[in-house]
């Protein structure tokens, strides 16, 4: 079974802190994704990586950066956390297409910024 794990299920940080969210997949997938999930807005793509050290901005990259030094690991960084970044963060991975492949999701990290 494909496994996507995220470093924390719940995280509480203070405004201005630097926050690292980590994601690891064990299926040798080329693609990895970071999404933000808010009620009524669905899943919005923050960043996407299609190979080691390669990244593309998603729909809402402002205030975030990412790092992918190894194929299995994709990190999301909030350089200076703000209260409007309080949200559920989901990581996903898939094989690189074409054809399109299933995305496998991690359990999510619920981040609260005070």
């Amino acid at each position: 079974d494909v496994k996507v794990t995220q470093s924390s299920r719940y995280l509480v940080k203070r405004t201005g802190e630097k926050v690292f969210l980590e994601c690891v997949q064990d299926m040798d997938h080329e693609n990895m994704f970071w999404y933000r999930q808010d009620p009524g807005l669905g899943l919005r793509l923050i960043y996407f990586s299609y190979d080691v050290k390669m990244k593309e901005k998603g729909d809402i990259p402002e205030g975030y950066s990412v790092s992918r030094e190894k194929k299995e690991r994709f990190s999301l960084i909030l350089e200076s956390a703000s209260t409007n970044q309080t949200s559920m963060y989901l990581c996903a991975s898939s094989f690189r297409g074409p054809p399109p492949d299933t995305q496998y999701f991690g359990p999510g990290t619920r981040l609260t910024v005070l």
Binding site: G42, L45, D59, L90, R96, G97, P98, Q103, F105, G106
Partner: protein
């Protein structure tokens, strides 16, 4: 551009049928459907590809109208386990990579 899902929410009794729609303003290469139960990760249900090929779930079906840029998910004889939020993800490129997800449809099945 985020695809539009309808309805936003639906309540069913066990055994009833439901249809969830997903509509895009852009030409689509594929449509992906996921279900998320409360407190859990989204789980893959189905991929529909331009040209008609379909992969997915044996108890749930879907259609993809390329001309209208729409997809519909059909849940027949619903069970309590069908409850959750259903998301469509649309892909506009042919690279099999990024998806844009809709806001979701909340489905609740009551006994």
């Amino acid at each position: 551009q985020q695809p539009v899902q309808s309805p936003q929410a639906v309540i069913l009794r066990e055994g009833e049928d439901a249809v969830i729609n997903c509509s895009s303003s852009k030409a689509l290469y594929s449509v992906h459907w996921y279900r998320q139960k409360h407190g859990e990760a989204p789980v893959f249900l189905m991929i529909l590809l331009k040209g008609g090929e379909q992969k997915g779930h044996d108890k749930i079906s879907a259609s993809f109208n390329e001309k209208k840029q729409q997809s519909s998910l059909y849940l027949t004889a619903s069970q309590l386990s069908y409850s959750g939020t259903y998301f469509c993800g649309t892909e506009i490129g042919e690279y099999g990579n990024k998806l844009v997800f809709g806001a979701g449809t909340i489905l609740r099945v009551k006994s």
